[in-house]
Symmetry: C2
Subunit: 341 residues, 2 copies
């Protein structure tokens, strides 16, 4: 492997000069710059990132921590992150935490040792204080998920009101027994969703039955099982609000397996609006978040933080609107027609 020394020797200059043509080209004369550049090309020299990182104490790497690599939501986020990282000449370390705090912490330690320049968490497991400590002492951080404090970068949507809106939509369509399949409780946003769901019921004078609130773990399998359980009840719900699309799609399948037609026998709303939700049958009505954009914005925020003179950087919260995307799984059209007929 050719290194900076060889280039310097071959070009008849010092290594300092070679380094400068790469890092501060404006400080070296046109002639030597051109000459050194040509030698580099001739030897096909490329600098060793590890050495550079050691000298500069930075790695041109950011990390993305996600709880489930198999959830398309997180991959849409990842795409947003990758799009800006690549443009900024940064690389991404992908860390699948599996929703385990231990694994997340283990990753964080590794990442710090690796001198990552920043970390994006999609659904962070750490406590507020832990994140704050990490962000203030180790590396810039941005969170995707629920906002919990002002001094940490975050991009989020309003999970509470999204859930409220979804539930209200079901109520307005005339459904009374409305169930909720929840995501894991360690994600604050799921607690918000549950609260929004309950509030919507209460505001409409509908009872909140604990038996209709079932944990689904945010994945296909969990969603399927929860939906099955719901539909096997002696008095099954008329509608289900699932905390994410993966579980909502699994619910569609569980309904088929249980002999329920959607939306005729049971209505289903999801959350996220992953691209698959527009392809299933019936097409899923869901609370849409601009997922890709959230990844994009999170990355921009992170680079903003990285590039800023560290002393008086001001953390930002970016709030994005949630929007109910009405498709077919709640029987909107049919019901409305019914009302007007």
């Amino acid at each position: 492997m050719v290194n900076i020394k060889m280039v310097a020797k071959e070009a008849g200059v010092s290594v300092a000069t070679v380094s400068r043509v790469l890092n501060h080209p404006e400080t070296v004369s046109e002639d030597t710059k051109k000459h050194v550049l040509s030698i580099m090309k001739q030897l096909s020299y490329t600098p060793n990132s590890l050495a550079r990182g050691l000298a500069l104490n930075k790695s041109n790497t950011i990390a993305l921590l996600i709880p489930n690599i198999l959830n398309p939501k997180h991959m849409e986020i990842a795409k947003g992150v990758e799009d800006v990282a690549h443009q900024k000449k940064y690389n991404i370390l992908l860390c699948n935490t599996e929703g385990k705090k231990d694994k997340e912490k283990e990753y964080i330690n590794i990442l710090i040792n690796r001198k990552v320049d920043g970390i994006i968490f999609s659904n962070c497991l750490l406590s507020d204080n832990e994140i704050q400590e990490l962000a203030s002492q180790k590396a810039p951080v941005v969170l995707i998920g629920k906002k919990t404090r002002n001094d940490i970068n975050v991009v989020y949507t309003d999970y509470y009101s999204g859930a409220y809106e979804a539930t209200t939509h079901l109520v307005e369509l005339g459904y009374k027994r409305i169930a909720h399949i929840t995501g894991p409780r360690w994600q604050d946003e799921n607690i918000d969703k549950e609260k929004g769901y309950e509030k919507a019921l209460q505001d409409n004078n509908l009872p909140v039955h604990k038996k209709y609130i079932i944990a689904g773990d945010n994945d296909i399998n969990g969603g399927y099982l929860a939906a099955k359980k719901l539909m096997r009840m002696s008095e099954p719900p008329e509608a289900i609000f699932a905390a994410n699309d993966l579980m909502a799609i699994a619910t569609l399948d569980a309904a088929r397996a249980s002999g329920f037609k959607v939306p005729e026998n049971i209505a289903v709303v999801g959350f996220d609006n992953i691209s698959m939700s527009a392809l299933v049958e019936p097409k899923l009505t869901t609370v849409s978040q601009p997922i890709y954009k959230m990844g994009l914005l999170a990355a921009r925020l992170l680079f903003d933080n990285i590039e800023y003179e560290s002393q008086d950087y001001v953390p930002q919260s970016i709030f994005l609107q949630t929007k109910l995307k009405i498709r077919e799984s709640c029987g909107y059209n049919k019901r409305v027609r019914q009302i007007f007929d």
Copy 2:
């Protein structure tokens, strides 16, 4: 940040000794080992990976290059890779090439500068020679996709026979006008699939109509458009074999939009068996590959290569069986019943 020097000083030993307790603990006495370890803990010292990487010329990092981060297939592969990498204490650099050779090459250069210890390509864009050069001179490589030569690690399935089987299945169900939505031609496996499709038609004395072979680009949008085009024909096909599940699922949706019922008016087979294919309606019949396992095996192969004394390492090809997973989208049950009635 506390470094090795501080630990050495505090422990009253040389930095060499500190380094040894971490890297060659067997060479240092029990007493000093214990003492140094306790000092490390006390100062919460963790070694700088960049410095270590520079000294050792390795980074404890592998790279995963994929053409489309939004295709669940690649994420199932990524999960397999992550599962073994994490256990081996390696990190993963995620590189989304978008199917662009330029971007892939750019990434490769960066990865080499970063001293990645190995690279896994899912559907590599490089030519055989380029890969061979990379693998022999720069870093261990393993490919996931079509096998093209023996001197490069690869894990693959038989795309040709998988396609042949899928198409034959359609023929056996009585379909005559069978179309094929292809993936991008730069992926050799797609050419194999097309060949398998054509051969199956020929072996059954069915004509191969070029108009029934349409490019779908392996993504949802491309698949949807291709399927639409097919169904708008004056003489639309009776069955469609899509080169991957994403396009097959999009085809299901296109059929709905075009007023075709699946499988009554048109049958659909996919390829991959991503988890979503068992959830859609109708459930997708597809050529199943053990995707997760392919990621797992690819990673194991890579670490085998990394750990092996480089001189006489022997590249391996791992071949996995493909299997037709019959579900509902081809009308298997109905047709069979019809035959027996």
